[in-house]
């Protein structure tokens, strides 16, 4: 478990280097990736399904990325791209290809659906958490402005 968290951290840092994110932000990107993987693994541990776990992990990515982007005044993309790499269903995608090549089409299609649903859970997790985070921030700033006006 500890080894895997380190692996997820290093993986995010390395993917950040591949996409040329600024060197000073590599540590943040790795932390987002490690945290996302930890949330996913813990959800699996407590009996969540594969899709549920990936959804929880990508919600963590979206919230962390938006918070860091606001704090450091950098585009949120920088933290999202390396962050979701440990969650990518590479193993499922590969197993789909393997089944298809071996002619086990039924198994292949069911594995393909699992891959697509996992990928969709990741995409919508990031989508939903970014949207809700922004709504929340907008609500707070508007309330502050309203109170300032009243005073």
């Amino acid at each position: 478990m500890g080894l895997k968290i380190i692996a997820a951290f290093l993986m995010s840092v390395a993917f950040g280097i591949l996409h040329r994110i600024p060197t000073s932000l590599l540590g943040y990107a790795g932390t987002v990736g490690g945290a996302a993987w930890l949330v996913t693994a813990l959800t699996r541990e407590f009996g969540g399904s594969l899709i549920m776990a990936n959804f929880a992990g990508s919600i963590a990515i979206g919230v962390a990325a938006e918070a860091l982007a606001r704090r450091l005044k950098k585009p949120a993309t920088i933290f999202i791209i390396p962050g979701f790499i440990p969650l990518v269903p590479g193993g499922e995608a590969y197993t789909t290809m393997l089944y298809m090549v071996e002619g086990r089409y039924i198994d292949g299609v069911s594995m393909f659906m699992r891959t697509v649903l996992t990928a969709g859970a990741i995409a919508f997790g990031i989508f939903i958490s970014s949207t809700i985070y922004r709504l929340f921030i907008n609500y707070i700033t508007e309330r502050k402005a309203y109170h300032a006006e009243k005073n």
Binding site: A7, A14, I17, R20, P75, T77, F127
Partner: protein, 257 residues
């Protein structure tokens, strides 16, 4: 704002459209490109600014108080991925809006950002790619043999990317070749060393090919309401994945036969 107001429309549009071009070339989201161009043009003294961006081109119209307007467009052909440049242009536009930099300096800085080589050279990125591969193998419960083999596969994939990108080839060639090379490395190494698990090596090898930018930008474009860009980037991500998968499938099918 006094020295700024003497700027000609042509000068404003040159700066703003160059910023948009640099952003789009290096993989920024559509709304970021549109908003940055509007912010920069406004900061330079334009009264009315309209921008329209699709993944392959930039359009910008700038008007002054008298109602004169200038429109320009740039076609963006070879797109790369360089988040460092996006961060720098973002920073520049913030400084320009806050009046912390004037027009000639901003133009000079922007031209330097567009020209300079940033990020890491070939050696570090090959090693980084290898690390992505070997850590993927760790996440899929592989042993130390597979880790080393996956490092090798992913590093070779990155080296192939370097060669293909110099040829300015057709889109999706590199992903297809990368998938083939990753599968070939896995199959060959598993043939030479019998106790090596083939699957973890291939999964590690294809991991650096995940279209991270296309997926993330597709999500964020759809979120921002840029449906045209969101759809085309989603399609780009899907086609990239299909290209990788076909590369792997061809090698596996050949091996099985």
């Amino acid at each position: 704002m006094t020295p700024v107001e003497k700027l000609l429309l042509n000068e404003i549009i040159n700066l703003a459209v160059l910023a948009g071009e640099v952003l789009l070339k290096n993989g920024a989201e559509t709304y970021r490109v549109e908003e940055t161009m509007v912010h920069i043009a406004r900061a330079c003294g334009a009264v009315k600014v309209e921008s329209f961006v699709i993944p392959t081109g930039v359009f910008l119209t700038v008007s002054d108080e008298q109602g004169h307007s200038v429109t320009t467009m740039r076609r963006v052909r070879d797109r790369t991925i360089n988040l460092d440049r996006i961060t720098k242009v973002n920073e520049l536009s913030r400084r320009l809006v806050d009046n912390r930099i004037d027009y000639p300096d901003a133009l000079a800085v922007l031209k330097r950002i567009a020209r300079e080589r940033t990020g890491f050279s070939l050696g570090p990125s090959v090693i980084a790619s290898g690390i992505v591969g070997s850590t993927t193998a760790v996440l899929y419960n592989a042993g130390s043999y597979e880790m080393v083999a996956a490092f090798l596969a992913a590093a070779i994939v990155r080296y192939i990317a370097h060669i293909v990108s110099r040829l300015h080839g057709v889109q999706f060639t590199f992903e297809f070749l990368g998938g083939m090379v990753a599968a070939l490395t896995g199959v060959l190494l598993a043939g030479v060393i019998p106790q090596l698990g083939r699957d973890a090596v291939i999964i590690g090898g294809i991991m650096p090919l995940v279209p991270g930018i296309a997926i993330t930008n597709a999500i964020r474009d759809v979120m921002a309401g840029d449906l045209l860009s969101g759809l085309s980037r989603g399609l780009e991500a899907a086609l990239t994945s299909v290209a990788v998968a076909m590369g792997v499938v061809l090698i596996l099918a050949t091996h099985a036969w």
